[in-house]
Symmetry: C2
Subunit: 131 residues, 2 copies
């Protein structure tokens, strides 16, 4: 995902077309990003594969409904909620462009926020996206 | 910027609407990303502000024409060239979605490629995008 405008605040995220989340976002017109922290390796690996909702959990992780109604993982360090404003469907992932309508920091962060978030390299020396 | 499809390989990049590069990309229908390395702090700061072409340099940096005709910084660790396939113009930046048609690693990389690239935090403890 990437930020793609300051005014209004927009971001863009690629979502696999054959994933359950893809059709839910298209129909609901809203989506939320749950920002994982350095200690969330387990959650990251859990969401590498398709997950299902069971009661108040998705993929075994407790979630809350955000102000947009989109699910936010309770364990997440931060959450960003968006209204869908544009969709590009050119490849095997759709690019959803969302306007940020709500954002929350859910746990205290020390130092730079971009150091507090989980990165692919934190998941192992040979872990790459799509690799 | 973000990758947004594996097949075909697509990426999306936000470009400020009032920048010179914005209109050049729209007209040319191609663009190139020059990937800076850990030692390129100076180049990064140079391109934070508007730059101009002077002969074979842009913003004081030597460039070459890539296979698409788009400019690639010679000092860059790697280059990715794209054909423009879609544009989202919702905010103060346009989101250009490009199909990757050429890519090159221009200098030897040790360790993880994503460790070799320059990150915002390498530019200073208080340097943030837009901050």
């Amino acid at each position: 995902m990437t930020q793609c405008s300051f005014e209004p605040p927009l971001l863009a995220v690629g979502v696999k077309k054959d994933s359950a989340g893809h059709d839910i976002i298209k129909e609901a017109g809203v989506f939320a990003l749950s920002v994982l922290g350095k200690s969330h390796q387990g959650q990251a690996f859990a969401f590498f594969k398709p997950v299902e909702r069971e009661g108040d959990k998705i993929g075994g992780e407790v979630f809350r409904k955000g102000s947009t109604g989109a699910p936010v993982l309770s364990a997440a360090v931060a959450a960003i909620e968006c209204e869908l404003v544009s969709t590009v469907e050119e490849g095997d992932h759709s690019l959803f462009v969302g306007k940020v309508v709500d954002a929350a920091v859910q746990s205290e962060i020390e130092g730079r926020p971009d150091d507090a978030t989980l990165a692919l390299k934190d998941l192992g020396e040979k872990t790459f996206y799509g690799g």
